[in-house]
Point group: C2
Chain length 130, copies 2
DNA sequence: CTTTTTGCAAATCTTTTGCACTCTA
DNA sequence: TAGAGTGCAAAAGATTTGCAAAAAG
């Protein structure tokens, strides 16, 4: 399970992390909550929101926004990477993008910006859905 | 002003487009509405939402989501490009990224995905804000 | 005259908060 | 025991939607 210092390992947090380690697609707080409930775990929706947020803040899990502006979470590898997301099944593949990181730096320098971060998400249909 | 076929050029739409062509940063529907009001234009908030949405759908303007999940709009160049956004003043610079587009294709092919689109946004502090 | 658009206000929906209560360290 | 964490239910806020009136072609 995703482990984070300074966050007490409560039953609820353990449950959320467990679910996250099971799911391979980006899921909303509501979806994670639904899974918990269906598994018989008693966890409040607010707690799921708070936990997911906390985990995301420490960088333990990744977040992205779907087209509707909902926050989607997913347990991911620890090093910097981006995602290839299936627009039908939401299957997610982590991708490393060294050349893009470099490009990012270059662009920023050219424009006189001091970079703080970037978002790169590629959408499409995965093998099974196409 | 941004012109789109099949959308009747009403006073409200003209007003929204005019504001968009004035603003150089990504703005929320609420912000656009506020500007309209402050200029004495009488346009309903719902209309602003509907107009912005319609324009975005036709590709006449660009949309992106901020960290809070709010939709931000901006009139942009017609060809495919991405953005460099200042996290303080929201100043936006359009950037072309041929190498990234190529990389995107390559990754998708490798993973067996059929690409439908991608999101690339670079955030940082602009010259004036750093 | 027919089809779009609008404006409002009401309804949605996701996410956040206040608070009293329950755990963990 | 003190500080963190939790559950609800209420509060926020951004969007959407229903509908009757107004505008456009």
């Amino acid at each position: 399970m995703v482990n984070v210092e300074s966050l007490r390992p409560t039953r609820q947090r353990r449950a959320v992390s467990d679910v996250l380690s099971t799911i391979t697609k980006f899921s909303s707080a509501q979806e994670v909550h639904a899974v918990l409930i269906s598994k018989g775990e008693k966890v409040g929706l607010a707690t799921v929101y708070r936990t997911l947020q906390a985990l995301a803040e420490t960088g333990a899990i990744d977040v992205l926004r779907n087209e509707d502006g909902e926050a989607l979470y997913r347990a991911c590898g620890t090093d910097h990477h981006h995602h290839l997301v299936c627009t039908i099944c939401n299957k997610t593949t982590e991708i490393a993008a060294p050349e893009v990181e470099i490009w990012t730096e270059k662009i920023a320098r050219e424009q006189g910006y001091l970079i703080s971060g970037h978002t790169i998400e590629v959408f499409g249909l995965c093998k099974n859905c196409r």
